[in-house]
Amino acid sequence: MKLSFSAEDEQFRQEVASWLRDNLSGEFEKLKGRGGPGDEHSFPQERKVWEQKLAQGKWTCVGWPQAYGGRGCSIEQQVIFFEEYARARAPGRMGHIGEGLTGPTLIAYGTQAQRDKYLPGILDGTQFWCQGYSEPGAGSDLANVKTRAAFDQASGKWRINGQKVWTSLAHESDYCFVIARTDPGSVGHKGLGFFLVEMDQPGIQVRPIEQITGTSEFNEVFFDDAECSSEDIVGEPGEGWKVAMGLLGFERGVSTLGQQMLFQNEFDEVVRLARSNGAASDPVIRQRIARAHTELKIMRYNSMRMLSGQSTGDGSLQKEALIYKLFWATWHRSLGELAMDVMGPECEILDAPPYALNRLQSMYLFVRADTIYGGTNQIQRNIIAERGLGMPKEPRGTL
């Protein structure tokens, strides 16, 4: 055990901080603190340009291996990068899904041709991705996807038909990875394929869904004979589930480091507010803040502990990650409640019409989603008990 950063790592910290200081300015100044949880709909175009700026400094995909164009940063350096990124209040990452999910999945499961085709656009911040997993009938029961992919011999392409839902940032994305059924008549996790689908085509319609915040970040996506080339299936037809689950491992692993650091910012904001409006002198509030801080530390230490002892070596997580999602989602939801109690009666008042929530109010609403997406709290508990503890399985279908 060694609980400190090396001199070299601290040097790296200086490098990140000074690059952000020099570059997160001018046209990007207004993006500070924007685009985070509950605010993803803000400034999408400007944040895409910011991704390209990051790319110029080689600050996208810092954890990817150098062989694939990344920086090959160690876990320590990735932690440092995300710490400084959050400290600088740099904007929420539009490239998050490509960098955190698509890239590592293609590196692990894709062909060289797929990597050559897709990794550069992610690295240089010009191509953006969304996640086509959930469907109206497939939420917690993800393996129940009904979207079909049929190979059309005449055109030599896959044709995709069906519907996805809750697809975050689909309206801002160039590509979507889609789980679809390749074996007609198959059920559950057998008979699926994992496809890389271009969004800008006549066979795809995107309809935004208005969220509880009054803004729209997720969408319904309709596939009506959407096309996908024969080279754009990852893994074999019928074996997409393995790829899909591998991707979930990345989703729950290193890719959440950035989000962790944002928690720190939100926590700091709650503390700042408590200081300025006097709530800090309320003993009940003080104790709740102390609890939140302790749990924040617990999360940070545990995420580093998990990542430094990585069993998989590729930035994905296994059993520990199950606990992690449940813990941070629940913590975050309580932070929302705490934030409102710190605000006091002011928490009822919006910044402006129409329905302009301030940051803490929108956080309070957004945290409701944390305990739902990426596996609900109930599903997480089932998994912890069944896979983690080996308890008997609940009588239910697949997954």
Partner: protein
């Protein structure tokens, strides 16, 4: 001792519920969000025709002369439909305050309230903002230790948006020449009484809101299938709902007890109200949290009706004293020298 409502009270609740559920649909509430005032004069006339605007107005002034105990169940139903109109405010706060003030003011305004021709709103400093000031014909406002009566011409309104799009809140500036209607000890007594009534109204509505969220969720989880089964059949989902049901059912008694204490002008009304307001709003917030959770991503949308009720519950929890305020009052009573807390103090 009898902790039940009479048959008449329950019948009245049922008929008002039928009316409200038919009329105040979620679609209608969404339409009201699009309108400028957010209020529907026609609906107010309908409420007046049913006698609801005059529930607590004495019969001599054209009302039904009923008590807080009679009205508390109706306030609950107003919560159940998330009624945007200020019926609970008017009936539980404005009318009793006018009655307590008495004199010409009461004689002039009470009949107009009962007939639905006028609306009176009350603004206390505890709340910072005044509800429905934009449609008020008379405003009774706390200014320092005084209560003043102001007509719309005498006030300056600044609209503040609420997290509940149905609530219309205003920062009110009042001219120096507004008429002082109470001052000193009289005023502070009236202010406290109005505060307790407002909290009772919020608590009763919170019960209704929680019930609505439960009903919506029981229905949704019975219809929605995952893993080949209704999600309501999963124990984790059931327990979410059962926890709300317990919290909600048990919050009712303290709210009814508070209504009784106010109706009978008992000295203990203030802390009875605090028990009720705290418990009911806590139940409603728990309902919001658990009901969103069992809806999955659906619960996170604007399109699904659940949020209409969730947001009103959020807002009401923070007005007429938030949880901290009411718990502090309860603690103040517990630790007061010689506080009656023992076996012989059940209703003290």
């Amino acid at each position: 001792m009898d902790f039940t409502f009479t048959e008449d009270q329950l019948l009245f609740q049922e008929s008002v519920r039928d009316f409200l559920v038919n009329e105040i649909t979620p679609e209608r509430i969404r339409r009201s969000w699009e309108s400028d005032s957010g209020r529907d004069p026609e609906l107010w006339s309908q409420l007046a025709e049913l006698g609801l605007t005059g529930m607590t107005v004495p019969e001599a002034c054209g009302g039904l002369g009923m008590s807080e105990v009679d009205f508390v169940l109706l306030a609950q139903e107003c919560g159940y439909v998330a009624l945007p109109e200020p019926l609970v405010h008017s009936t539980l706060v404005s009318v009793p305050l006018l009655l307590e003030l008495g004199g010409e003011l009461a004689a002039q305004w009470l009949p107009l309230i009962a007939s639905g021709e006028a609306k009176v709103v009350v603004g206390l400093e505890q709340n910072h903002w005044v509800e429905d000031a934009h449609i008020a014909d008379l405003l009774l406002l706390q200014r320092g230790g005084n209560l003043v009566a102001a007509t719309p011409g005498e006030v300056n309104l600044r609209h503040n948006e609420s997290v509940d799009p149905s609530r219309k809140l205003f920062f009110v500036e009042v001219g120096a020449n507004a008429q002082v209607v109470a001052s000193g000890a009289t005023a502070s007594k009236l202010i406290e009484s109005a505060m307790n009534r407002g909290a009772l109204g919020a608590a009763a509505q919170a019960l209704g809101l929680a019930q609505r969220m439960v009903d919506l969720s029981v229905q949704y989880t019975s219809e929605r299938h995952q893993f080949g089964k209704a999600i309501g059949s999963f124990q984790a989902v059931k327990h979410h709902m059962a926890n709300v049901a317990v919290s909600l059912e048990y919050a009712k008694a303290p709210v009814y007890r508070a209504a009784y204490a106010i109706a009978h002008a008992q000295d203990i009304a203030w802390h009875a109200v605090s028990h009720g307001k705290f418990a009911a709003c806590e139940a409603a917030n728990l309902a919001a949290k658990n009901c969103i959770q069992v809806h999955g991503a659906m619960g996170y949308t604007w399109e699904v009706d659940l949020h209409i009720f969730m947001k009103k519950a959020w807002a009401l929890a923070n007005t007429w004293g938030d949880a901290g305020f009411h718990k502090a009052r309860i603690a103040q009573r517990i630790f007061a020298p010689g506080a009656a807390l023992g076996a012989d103090a059940t209703f003290a």
